[in-house]
């Protein structure tokens, strides 16, 4: 029966490497299993053979390979193929790979076929043997998923979440459920931002006006409080994740169609370079690719400017967050690949992410005294349902505590956590498990929007806080920490309830530690 134990591990493996080679013979040490066939793949851990019985996968540790086509295990380096947009493929991942190489003491070599296709080879300095190869193809997020589905990539890098249709196709292709926990990693945080040329006096805009500008309804900066100069519109091509997301989340929401006179750019870098030289220009880009342009804040009808920055992206207090993902199909990566992914989640990698100009996921604390504006707003908004005693009770609970940047928010019109918040669940859980909060008290503080009945909102926010607590602490034993929940209802608004994005920002569970 051992034959079956040997086979059927790691079912799907990528493109054949040893096409049209001579047959090899795989033999177990006791000779009870002998399989002959064409070697189609070897990843350092498993052999895959095309045999007369069909394809078979055998554990390399338990069989010996005989034949001239057998790979030399010492010389062998598994290859991981990555497809994705330039921000991830040309900037973030190479920085992480170089950081990883330095960490494990291997030399990094970049073999460049052309500007969009290159391979990193890491080599052990002492043995001189390559340890792993990362083959890159720079493309869009759409194409990255297509490569994954076609078996032409092992990891899809994406500036957006996977679509339902892509999840379904991936499942059909035997790649597992790609939107399930563990199938994706957030590599860095990012957001969608509006930019203007340096020197433009208009520094903030409402989402509605942004939709009006890009649909051609507003044509002069005068309508936005600037000089009477025509607005120059710039967007990246429609295939770009940022442009797609802007279309869906802003233009779509206001039923606006993009104007015909928009200048289109093939890359976000090209877009920001064009805008940075032209004060009358406006464009939509990623926070990680603002180049030398001027970033605009978002503002709601009742004030509350929301400024994109590392901290507001971490807290999602800036509404247009768009984390950067790596999607991993349900197949076993070779050992060095798994080691690399482990490194990507480490504090050392956070440092590399920051140095590469991206926003990492490291938790920060925000003391109460740096939240004066929020408290002032709460007092200003109080009176209608929320009384002074409610505010006093809330401040009592938060006094002397610090807010963590990790915040839990929900998908639009849903009680499901959004992508970034889902990735925050294991992040916070592992910090608690590792004892980072031992001796402290953690408060999951729920908040609601201001739509509807005050008392109902309070109960709703309490339930949300409890749900998040359960999700985080699910299987964590947390003897060292005191865990509490609170529902403050609509007491501490962060944005205008008059607009939909404001309501979404207000519906949240914050985490406070003392």
């Amino acid at each position: 029966m051992s034959t079956f134990r040997f086979a059927l591990l790691a079912a799907s493996i990528g493109a054949p490497l040893w096409a049209a080679a001579e047959e090899v013979r795989l033999r177990s040490p006791d000779g009870s299993v002998v399989v002959s066939g064409q070697l189609t793949h070897f990843d350092g851990d498993f052999y895959r053979l095309e045999t007369i019985y069909g394809p078979m996968t055998l554990d390399a540790a338990r069989v010996a390979c005989h034949g001239t086509s057998c790979p030399d295990p010492a010389e062998f380096a598994p290859e991981i193929r990555l497809s994705g947009p330039p921000a991830l493929g040309a900037l973030l991942m190479p920085a992480l790979i170089e950081g990883y190489a330095a960490r494990i003491g291997h030399a990094a070599e970049r073999v460049i076929a052309d500007d969009r296709h290159f391979t990193y080879v890491l080599t052990d300095g002492t043995s001189g043997h390559p340890s792993i190869r990362f083959r890159f193809r720079l493309t869009g997020s759409d194409e990255a998923f297509a490569d994954l589905l076609a078996g032409e990539a092992d990891i899809a890098l994406s500036a957006r979440e996977i679509r339902r249709s892509e999840v379904a196709l991936a499942r059909e292709a035997g790649l597992g459920t790609l939107d399930a926990p563990g199938r994706s990693r957030v590599l860095a945080l990012d957001g969608i931002v509006a930019i203007t040329g340096a020197g433009n006096p208009v520094r903030q805009i409402t989402l509605r006006d942004l939709a009006r500008v890009f649909s051609g309804e507003i044509v002069s900066w005068a309508a936005l409080g600037g000089p009477d100069v025509p607005i120059g519109l710039h967007l990246a091509e429609e295939e770009t994740a940022v442009t797609q997301s802007f279309g869906a989340r802003i233009l779509g929401r206001y039923g606006a169609a993009p104007a015909s006179e928009i200048v289109r750019h093939s890359s976000l870098a090209g877009l920001t370079d064009a805008i940075s030289q032209d004060p009358a220009a406006i464009g939509i880009t990623a926070f990680s690719e603002t180049g030398s342009a001027q970033i605009m804040s978002l503002v709601g009808p009742c004030g509350f400017p929301s400024v994109p920055g590392p901290q507001t992206l971490k807290t999602e207090d800036y509404p247009l967050t768009a984390p950067l993902f790596a999607y991993l199909p349900a197949k076993r990566l070779p050992r060095p690949g798994r080691d690399f992914l482990e490194y990507v989640q480490s504090p050392q990698a956070d440092l590399v992410v920051r140095r590469a100009g991206f926003v990492d996921q490291r938790l920060e604390t925000i003391p109460l005294d740096r939240q004066g504006l929020r408290i002032a707003n709460a007092v200003r908004e109080a009176g209608d349902g929320i009384g002074l005693s409610d505010l006093r009770a809330m401040v009592e609970r938060l006094f002397g505590a610090e807010r963590l940047t990790v915040t839990f928010r929900f998908e639009e019109g849903s009680s499901e956590l959004d992508a970034q918040s889902r990735s925050n669940v294991p992040l916070l859980a592992s910090l608690i498990r590792r004892g980072n909060f031992d001796g402290s008290s953690i408060l999951f503080a729920g908040f609601s929007d201001g739509i509807g009945n005050v008392e109902q909102n309070r109960r709703l926010s309490q339930r949300r806080a409890e749900a998040v607590r359960d999700a985080v602490l699910g299987d964590v034993s947390a003897q060292g920490v005191t865990v509490e929940t609170a529902g403050f209802g609509e007491a501490l608004p962060m944005a205008c309830d008059a607009v939909e994005w404001g309501q979404r920002i207000n519906r949240r569970v914050e985490v406070w530690v003392r």
């Binding site: 330039p86 493929g89 040309a90 900037l91 190479p94 920085a95 170089e98 950081g99 330095a102 030399a107 990094a108 070599e109 970049r110 073999v111 460049i112 076929a113 052309d114 500007d115 969009r116 290159f118 720079l138 340096a198 870098a269 920001t272 370079d273 064009a274 805008i275 940075s276 030289q277 603002t290 180049g291 030398s292 342009a293 140095r355 590469a356 100009g357």
Partner: protein
């Protein structure tokens, strides 16, 4: 101290025989040599003195690189210049050079303003020889002159700057200098075979091709904020040329992005072949990151074209001070 006597002899011979400018500079640095020298084959370390004093002395007080200052007297008080000197004798049996000088190799490394090191090599018995310099992965080759002298200016890539000079017979002289000012600069370097040297092109704050902010070897250095220096001697056997772009981050009043391209001309020699290079990028708060590059050049029908690689070097992101 046998070595001291030998140095004095060298100084005296120098004085008697040769040109004054060379004499003053090299004679004096040699005279102030304090570091131990291992004259056996292999690597010699000179570590420490400049590290201690280099940190304490404000480097901005130093004269600019191009200045030829008068040599200070030998016995003087607190010194502003803090060289690291390395002395070694060549491993060949030869004892005197063609000009009657004792065979000796002296490496002098002097920090200068702008986080650069001024390197001077005097290898009396190695005239017109290729020497290879390596600083944190930034590599280039020089050729000594008829007296065995070579000098150059090297932009520093890390505050704890290590420098290695390898002579033709394999002997290496090395020095280590603490250059705190290096943290004020962002630097990126590419070293490549001088026969098809790769160039760095920087585009500061949204500049386009040919704009003022387009900085490369040969662009007007004073107009932009950064500059590209080219190091190495293209006449060397097996030439090794480095280009290094420096942006003065510490004094930048602008914030934004500097985009960095690698460019190389497709020639009849390199077309369709692989060009080997090294890319070095300074990392704040750590050693610079070095990546070996192997670039496949376009086919020979593209001879005369310029290969532009936009994704090899990471853009510099500058925050306003």
């Amino acid at each position: 101290m046998i070595r001291d006597r030998r140095l004095k002899t060298a100084l005296a011979t120098f004085m008697a025989a040769f040109a004054i400018a060379h004499l003053m500079q090299f004679g004096l640095t040699a005279g102030r040599t304090t570091e131990a020298a291992d004259t056996s084959r292999g690597e010699v370390q000179a570590v420490g003195r400049a590290g201690l004093f280099g940190a304490a002395e404000p480097l901005t007080a130093l004269p600019s690189i191009g200045d030829r200052e008068p040599a200070p007297p030998l016995a003087l008080g607190p010194q502003r210049r803090v060289p690291v000197d390395m002395v070694a004798t060549p491993v060949t049996g030869q004892t005197l050079s063609a000009y009657g000088l004792p065979c000796e190799r002296v490496l002098s490394v002097l920090p200068a303003p702008g986080a650069v090191l001024r390197l001077r090599l005097s290898a009396t018995c190695d005239p017109r020889e290729r020497v290879e310099i390596d600083h944190a992965g930034l590599r280039f080759a020089l050729v000594t002159d008829m007296f065995g002298m070579a000098d150059t200016v090297i932009p520093v890539l890390a505050t704890d700057a290590e420098l290695r000079v390898v002579l033709q017979d394999g002997e290496a002289l090395s020095a280590r200098v603490f250059v705190p000012e290096a943290s004020q600069f962002d630097r990126v370097a590419v070293s490549s075979d001088g026969r098809s040297a790769l160039e760095i092109h920087a585009f500061e704050f949204g500049a386009g091709y040919g704009d003022t902010g387009h900085v490369h070897h040969g662009s007007n250095a004073s107009a932009a904020q950064g500059r590209v220096r080219r190091l190495g001697d293209s006449s060397a056997d097996d030439p090794l040329i480095a280009e290094i772009y420096t942006f003065p981050t510490g004094e930048s009043l602008a914030s934004g992005t500097v985009r960095l391209h690698v460019e190389g001309e497709v020639t009849s020699e390199n077309c369709g072949r692989e060009v080997v290079a090294d890319a070095v990028q300074s990392m704040p708060g750590g050693p610079p990151s070095v990546v070996a590059l192997r670039v496949t050049m376009p086919g020979c029908d593209a001879t005369g074209d310029i290969l532009v690689l936009k994704n090899v070097l990471r853009d510099l992101r500058i925050a306003r001070n």
